[in-house]
Structures are given as C-alpha cells and as structure tokens.
C-alpha cells in the first residue's frame, strides 16, 4: 500500500498537506509516509527487489486479514450458537461444538483452518452443501466483470470532466460539474441504483431491472458504480489539474503564445497523467471496499456481494469467511499490480 492511499484518504480532494508531502522524486501519490519513502529508495536498485518486497508486504497483509477474520468469527462470535436452536441448552451447544470440532484449542483450530486455506479448503457451506470456496469462485467473475465496467465508466467521466473543469477553475462548467460530483458522492449508492431502476426499467422500460441475463442487464449496475465512483475521480483529477495549471511552466507556455488547448494537451495532461492513472487505480480498489457489493444486491447481480448477503441471512459462515478472504486477496493483488504499474510508468517517464 505504501503512502499511496493518502490521495484517496482525504476524500474528494488533494489537500495542501498532501501536496506538501510530495517530494520531487516520487511523484504526488507515492512517498507520503516515511516507510514508503524508504522503500522507494531501497527498492530503487532492482526491479526484482521491488516486486519481491511488495509481494512480501502483500502476503503479510493477507495473513493478517485471515487472522483477523478467524479471530472475529471464532472468538468474538461463537459459530456453534448459530447452528443451535434459540432455546438450546448448554449441553446441546457443547454437543454441536464437539460435532464441528469447535471444542478443540483455539490455536489448533486456527492451524487447521490456515492449512486448509493453502489446500483451497475453506470449509463446507451448510447452505449450499458444497465447498464454500466453489460458491465464492463461481460468483467472482460476475463481480470482476461488473467492477471493471464500472471503473471504466467512472474513469471516463471522472477524468474527462475533471480535466475540463480543472482547466478553467470557477467557470460555469466547473461549478456545475463540481456540484454534480459532490451530489454523486452524497447519495447512497444503493439508492441511486434503485432510482435508475425506477426511471430506466420501470418507467421507460428500456433496460431489465435486475439479474444477469442478456448483455444489457449489466448497463444499469455498471452505470450506478460509474456515477458514484466517477464523482470521486472527478474531484481528485480536478484538483490535480488545478494545481498543475498554476505551475510556472504553464504561464511560460501561455506567454509563448500557445492556446489553452495546446497547453492542456501538450503539457498539463502529460504531467498529470500518472497521477490520474493512479487515482483511477485506487478508486477501483475502493470499489471493492463496499459500493460494488451493495449495488450487486440491488440489481440481483450474481456476484460476491449478493452471495454474501444471502449467506448472511442463512448464517453460512464458511461462505462469508471465504468471500471476505477472497475479496481481500483480490484487493491486495490489485494494490500490488497498481503499485508496480505506477513504478513502471514512473521509471519510463524519469528515464525519458
């Protein structure tokens, strides 16, 4: 992760304190924590070094995720209580615990669970009567498909709008788009999905309300994600553009007689491109933090979110655990790829 998330942190805008943290070498997103800075230095020598270091960090985070999930489900809650009827006596609960092996020492159970994960065994779903991981992997492609289409739409609207608005701060276009994007950030995403269903499926009848049958059923859920996340990408890209436009070289280019469009395409866009790509990358990771799953449920999109809600209502822990860990692994791998891609592009830019 590094300090890269600082940009995302102060939701909606690149603030002054972030800008102050920027060092001339590392670009605006990277080196805002000492660790990230040190690692950027240490890994500078070899590509393999960076990849290994980041992979190791990712692995540590994944183990942490698994530990936390296991502790939460087994110490904070007691799985046996879920299987037991409401009026079960202590003896009955003890019998259930014994049947599921829950009466063994905590560390032993964790060891078993952890070893199981490495063999791809996340336990058996008592709802679907099959390995939990199968159900999760079956749902994963639908979630990936939806989230990629959603982020593509969000990046398109966010970047085009953000650059145009940021190029002329406080113009009418800027004010209108800025307000729209704050609006997009403020409405509940699942509600936005319902609104789109109401307008485009119920009233106009152009698109199906839900499900994943036919090519056009993905349009509404993807559009919902694109609006919600496009709003935030817009905010970040806009402030990055505004900041870039105020730099001295822009004034120099203007005084040389370049038109606004030339300044924008030849200079500003080239310099903000890297930041923009990273912003879109982080936003994709963020989508996996929440919105995508609620949207899936609204549109009955058969992905991980819908699976998890159904599993939650049936108290199926193994599916819940497996889904969170798989989603966590996906987030960690995405983080890793974005980070490495950023470095790869940065290197080329630096060398040129």
């Amino acid at each position: 992760m590094g300090g890269s998330s600082d940009l995302v942190t102060v939701r909606g805008r690149v603030t002054r304190s972030d800008a102050d943290d920027v060092t001339e070498e590392d670009g605006p997103v990277q080196a805002s924590t000492p660790i990230a800075r040190r690692m950027a230095w240490a890994g500078r020598s070899t590509v393999a070094g960076i990849v290994l270091r980041r992979a190791r960090d990712g692995a540590i985070t994944l183990v942490l995720v698994i530990v936390v999930i296991f502790v939460l489900t087994n110490v904070v809650g007691n799985p046996a209580l879920v299987y037991a009827p409401v009026d079960a006596s202590d003896a009955e609960i003890a019998r259930i615990e014994a049947a599921f092996g829950l009466d063994r020492p905590f560390l032993e159970r964790f060891g078993d669970y952890f070893a199981g994960i490495f063999r791809g065994d996340f336990g058996n779903s008592n709802w679907q009567q099959r390995p939990a991981i199968d159900a999760v992997l079956e749902a994963l492609p639908a979630t990936i498909q939806l989230s990629i289409l959603g982020i593509a739409g969000a990046a398109f609207f966010g970047i085009v709008g953000g650059v145009l608005a940021g190029a002329r701060p406080n113009s009418r276009l800027d004010r209108v788009t800025n307000f729209l994007s704050i609006g997009a950030l403020s409405v509940p995403n699942f509600w936005l999905g319902l609104l789109l269903i109401f307008v485009f499926a119920v009233r106009l009848g152009w698109l199906p309300t839900s499900g994943r049958i036919g090519w056009n059923s993905i349009i509404l859920p993807a559009a919902t994600l694109a609006i919600v996340h496009g709003g935030r990408i817009f905010q970040l890209v806009r402030s990055a553009t505004v900041e870039e436009m105020s730099k001295p070289y822009v004034r120099v280019a203007r005084s040389k007689g370049f038109s606004d469009r030339q300044v924008l395409t030849r200079h500003v866009l080239r310099n903000t491109g890297l930041t923009t790509a990273t912003i879109a990358g982080w936003e994709y990771v963020r989508m996996w933090g929440g919105a995508a799953f609620a949207i899936e449920f609204v549109f009955a999109w058969p992905g991980i979110g819908t699976l998890m809600i159904n599993a939650a209502h049936r108290q199926d822990f193994f599916i819940l655990q497996a889904a969170v860990i798989v989603a966590g692994a996906f987030v960690i791998v995405s983080n890793l790829i974005i980070d490495l891609m950023y470095r790869a592009i940065d290197r080329r830019v630096g060398a040129a």
């Binding site: 995403n189 319902l194 809600i309 209502h313």
Partner: protein, 295 residues
C-alpha cells in the same frame, strides 16, 4: 487547496450591479446547509413536535397514498406506505437513530484514529511503523464485507453497529492526524515546550492536539456523512438496524419491493439522506477552504 482560493479571487470579472446581487446571493447560498442540518437535528431531538402523525398509526383505508394527498387524517406530504403509515412522520422519527448511529460511530472512530495518529506521528520509529502497518492492513480489508460478516455473526443491533462502523473510519483519522502531527512536531513552540520541561503527555495533549484539532473537526463532518451512508447501506442489506427501530436506510429497504407501485417509499427517504450528506459535504468543504485561507 490554497491555489483554488487564489484563482477564485483573481478570476472575478468586473460585474454589473445585477450580477453583483446574484453573486451576493450565491455567496450566501451555503447557509441553507447549516439551516437544513439544524432542522434534521431538531427532528432527531423532538420528533413528536415535528411529525404531523404518529408513525405507528396504521390507516388501512389510506394505503399507498401518493405524496401531497390530503386525507381525513391530514395531508400526507410524502405519501403513505402499504399499511397507511405516513411516510413523512416515519422519516422525521427515523432522523434520531440515523444521526445517533452516525455521530456516535464517527466519534469513536475519530478517538481511535486520533490516538493512533498522534502516537505514530509524535514517536517515529517502531511505534510509527507498527501502527501504520496496522492501518494499511485495515485499508486492504474489504471492510464493508467484514462488517456484514460481523453483524450477521453477532446478530444485528444498534449497539453492535456503533461498535462495527468506526472500523470503517479510524484509518482515515489516523493517517490525517499523523501527517499533521509530523508537521506540528517540527515547530519551534513544541521545541520550546520540551525545553521548558513539559512531560511528553503534556506536549501531546496541550500543544500538539489543539493544533491538529481544526483538521480533525473538518474530517469529522465529512466522515459523519460517510458513516451515515455506510449505516444506510448495512441497514438496507438487512444486517444493520432492525425493525421496529427505523433509520432512513431501513425506510429505503422497506420501500424497495413496492418500487413499481409506490416510488415515493424508496425515493423520498433517499433524497432526504442524500441532502443531509450533501449538506455535510458542502459544509466541510467550506470549513476546509476557510482553514486553508487562514493557515
């Protein structure tokens, strides 16, 4: 941010008097936000005063009445649901729990985040590395899913919700406070405080914290909005607040099956929630520009 402000001032063109009047009104337009939020807070404090009808009063003869229709019970500003319950009254009564959960969870999250941020910003070294590692691990976790997992295990309730929701926001507070603390730590008054023999604890609580406070407050306003949306999401998915308690998110969920016949049951609570979060966002943005201009 300072750049944006400078542009704001230089970009104004010499205006006509009509323009100036419009601009003056527009400049004060943001005042609508605190007013709106005040109304919502009043709803939360004394719902009985503001709700025209009892939100538990069932009226079988006036089911699914569309908004603005008047019946013998009074005017239903936001229509009624399938039991004839007045939606506007339900929304007024829902304000209390919506606000309570959001504010309580944000406060708890802010406390955790501020402590983590102060410690890791003030003591660099292993404390910093450990705490930042934790924050990073937390950010990598799909917290919304973890929240679903936790709530379905422990059984959804308001209390559990207030315990689970802060996990979504504390890393943000941690990171921002840490960055601010790093800056404040270098200033000469901290050096002076240390030199005059203040204990570390006194330096942090009396000198560092007050200087970081403005940023924390701005962040709290934004995050309250985010927590509100998260709570609505969890309640909507059925793992948050449970009936008979009501929040706006739950009202949206209740209206969802009737979307095709009674749109207002779904759309209007969402509009209310969206406007509240919008006001919080606009307000925090305003504070932020102010803080930026001052500092």
């Amino acid at each position: 941010m300072s750049i944006v402000i400078r542009d704001l001032h230089t970009a104004t063109v010499a205006p006509s008097s009509a323009h100036r009047a419009v601009a003056a009104v527009r400049k004060q337009l943001w005042l609508v936000c605190p007013l709106f939020l005040m109304v919502i807070v009043l709803w939360a404090v004394a719902p009985g005063w503001f709700a025209p009808l009892d939100p538990e009063r069932i009226d079988p003869r006036n089911r699914l009445v569309s908004p603005l229709t008047a019946t013998e019970a009074g005017r239903h500003w936001a229509g009624t649901d399938q039991l004839g319950i007045d939606l506007f009254s339900a929304m007024v009564h829902g304000a209390r729990l919506t606000l309570l959960v959001a504010v309580a969870a944000t406060l708890i999250g802010a406390c955790i985040g501020v402590i983590v941020g102060l410690l890791s910003g003030y003591f660099s070294g292993w404390v910093d590395r450990l705490l930042m590692r934790l924050t990073e691990a937390q950010t990598a976790m799909p917290m919304f899913l973890v929240a679903i997992l936790l709530l379905s295990m422990l059984g959804p309730s308001v209390l559990i919700l207030i315990i689970v929701l802060p996990t979504l926001v504390w890393p943000i507070f941690g990171r921002v406070v840490r960055a601010e603390t790093l800056k404040v730590r270098e200033s000469s008054y901290i050096e002076a405080a240390v030199a005059t023999g203040c204990t570390t604890r006194a330096v942090i609580t009396r000198h560092v914290l007050p200087n970081v406070m403005p940023r924390i407050l701005v962040l709290m306003v934004i995050e309250t909005g985010h927590v509100m949306l998260a709570e609505a999401g969890l309640s909507f998915l059925g793992v948050g607040v449970q009936p008979p308690d009501t929040t706006w998110g739950l009202l949206i969920a209740d209206g969802r099956p009737l979307l095709t016949v009674a749109w207002w049951l779904t759309i209007l609570p969402g509009v209310l929630l969206g406007l509240t979060v919008l006001c919080l966002n606009i307000l925090s943005r305003r504070f932020e520009t102010r803080a930026g201009a001052a500092g």
